[in-house]
């Protein structure tokens, strides 16, 4: 028995030493992976788990966290009108912003997909907001929608004889303005992705469709849209994820003296609320519960995306 154990069969010994050799050869590889892996674990995975732990504690950043179980989540989901406001605002904003941005992006891509100088100039123009400093852009919007008569929006209104509107302090207008800014800022990015998607559709498909007597609309409906489906899914999903994370627009344009979320929290959304709880009120445990709620929402969206793309591939 012992003899068998100390002297394993030859073949096994060979695989064992081969495995050792493979591991030895892999050492430089792991070393090359190390800087990334270290930072990845230290500043992403570890903080993610830490946030989960804090979410179950009462923690102000000074005294050590004290365990409160699910109290934060209970309060957040069942008993916090501001969070409900933030969530509802987020959902309305995300739905409108993503739908309109995607539609605008597709329209622009169909119109300006070519290589002529006019198309290229137009693509550049629509893309400009994506490269401009977000804060600068938001400050411009704040100026344009200022309530005074010299605000550009109010000037345009006055051409039609309308009274000036105090845009930024009327809660009713907050979400529509945020959506407008989102479409203005995001349609160029989606357009670029759609243009490359459109140009990847084989021309033969259109020729075949024309031979079958398909008109312009039918070609769009039965060739372009189905062929674009993976690209559209990508644009919609990344749009959803980005829209749930909106912060600057709310913080810069609508922050009122008393609240990060604007007058009557009209523009309060998930990340501004997270910031407010964490870094102006220093309720770090509660902020972590908001953070994990955001994570779960985005996780669910990503899972749906996986399901949808897999299902589409099987079709």
């Amino acid at each position: 028995m012992t003899a068998v154990l100390t002297e394993p069969p030859l073949t096994n010994g060979r695989t064992a030493s081969r495995r050792r050799a493979r591991l030895r050869r892999a050492v430089p590889g792991y070393l090359m992976l190390l800087p990334f892996a270290g930072l990845f674990l230290g500043f992403l995975i570890w903080p993610l788990l830490n946030a989960l732990y804090f979410a179950f504690t009462d923690f102000n950043g000074v005294r050590p966290p004290s365990w409160v179980g699910t109290e934060n989540f209970r309060r957040l989901w069942l008993d916090d009108p501001r969070f409900r406001k933030a969530l509802v605002n987020s959902l309305i904003y995300v739905a409108l912003a993503v739908t309109l941005t995607t539609a605008a992006a597709l329209t622009l891509a169909l119109a300006f997909r070519g290589t002529s100088w006019r198309d290229r100039v137009m693509r550049t123009i629509f893309f400009l907001p994506s490269v401009t400093s977000t804060i600068a852009v938001m400050l411009i919007w704040r100026w344009i929608f200022s309530g005074e008569r010299f605000g550009l929006a109010n000037t345009v209104l006055s051409w039609f004889g309308a009274e000036p509107v105090s845009w930024l302090s009327t809660p009713r207008w907050t979400i529509p303005l945020l959506v407008l800014m989102a479409v203005w800022g995001g349609c160029g990015y989606g357009m670029v992705i759609f243009v490359s998607g459109l140009n990847a559709i084989p021309e033969e498909l259109y020729e075949a469709a024309r031979l079958d007597g398909a008109g312009g609309w039918q070609q769009f409906r039965y060739v372009t849209l189905p062929q674009l489906r993976p690209v559209t899914t990508y644009v919609v999903i990344t749009g959803l994820i980005g829209a749930f994370q909106v912060f600057e627009a709310v913080y810069i344009v609508f922050r009122a003296v008393s609240s990060v979320g604007g007058v009557q929290d009209g523009g309060l959304m998930l990340v501004p609320y997270l910031y407010d709880m964490g870094f102006t009120k220093f309720q770090l445990g509660y902020a972590s519960a908001i953070a994990w709620t955001l994570f779960l929402i985005i996780f669910v969206i990503s899972m749906i995306q996986l399901r949808v793309t897999r299902a589409l591939r099987e079709l």
Partner: protein, 295 residues
């Protein structure tokens, strides 16, 4: 005939393109308007009497305290050496450092994951890709505490180190590196080159288009980064441009003179990125297109 019809159909979109530019035009013209012209009703669309006062106001007397409000952009921040240029320098340095370091780190990782036979590399790659759906704001509170414990608040390390592990860049570079033939790597190994040398001398030069696309992405994102600096910057000297802008904004909402200065600062912030984008447009749009199509 059909071309004419196409152009006519696109006419509204051309007009939409023009209106897209209105905010930019409004910013640029406001930066050069004298203050009374800013609040004129109806507003002037062309600066009637262009001035550089919003940038630098010759008549300003630093001895009078109340005059803080009527100093041009480059005369503000008396306690910050260099003033606004210091903020631009901070932004530039941080963006450059994060771009170079994060790309090197990601490219090393991508090489190990695609060109070396590492046990467990599939699992590692899946974890990295899966991590892309973690909204980084979730790590905001813990990372703030980590940086505070390291006493990195208000330092360049505090800006740079937490931003270096970019899963998306690894993912993108892995996708691109897969298209580089393994035979090249094998041949170099047969010639006796070490892995590090192969990475730097054989693979990296071939990765140039992908690296350029990612570099432009990261530079722009970091130049414009706001929420993280907002949290870790405590004194004005360490502010980057977005934080400085937001502080200008917070100090004096809708004081017309202040708005002129803010528009001047916004112009100075946006101009480099726009020029940068126009210069590298091709790489940039290719990068976006590749990431979108692979998704």
């Amino acid at each position: 005939m059909t071309r004419l019809r196409g152009e006519l159909l696109r006419l509204p979109l051309y007009l939409a393109g023009l209106t897209m530019l209105v905010p930019f035009y409004w910013m640029a013209s406001a930066a050069f308007k004298p203050v009374p012209e800013l609040t004129r009703n109806p507003p002037s669309f062309v600066p009637g009497d262009p001035t550089l006062d919003a940038f630098y106001e010759p008549a300003w007397d630093p001895g009078v305290r109340a005059d803080q409000l009527v100093a041009g952009l480059f005369q503000r921040y008396q306690d910050v050496p260099g003033g606004f240029l210091r903020f631009m320098g901070n932004s530039l340095f941080v963006a450059a450092a994060i771009t170079v370091l994060s790309l090197l780190i990601a490219a090393l990782a991508a090489y190990a994951l695609t060109k070396m036979d590492l046990p467990g590399r599939r699992v590692i790659f899946v974890v990295v890709v899966a991590s892309m759906m973690i909204p980084w704001q979730v790590t905001l509170v813990p990372n703030y505490l980590i940086v505070r414990n390291l006493e990195w608040l208000n330092t360049y390390q505090g800006y740079i180190v937490p931003a270096l592990a970019k899963a998306f860049v690894v993912f993108f570079l892995v996708q691109y590196m897969r298209s580089i033939p393994d035979d090249l790597v094998h041949a170099a190994r047969v010639d006796g080159a070490g892995e590090f040398r192969i990475w730097w001398r054989v693979v990296m030069p071939l990765m140039r288009p992908a690296l350029a696309a990612m570099a432009i992405f990261v530079v722009l994102a970091e130049w414009n980064n706001f929420l993280w600096p907002l949290i870790i910057v405590q004194d004005d000297t360490m502010a980057n441009v977005p934080v400085a802008l937001s502080r200008l904004n917070a100090s004096n909402a809708f004081n017309p003179h202040n708005m002129a200065v803010i528009m001047a600062a916004s112009l100075l912030t946006s101009l480099p990125t726009v020029i940068f984008f126009l210069a590298f447009q091709k790489h940039f749009t290719r990068g976006i297109a590749l990431s979108g199509i692979k998704g």
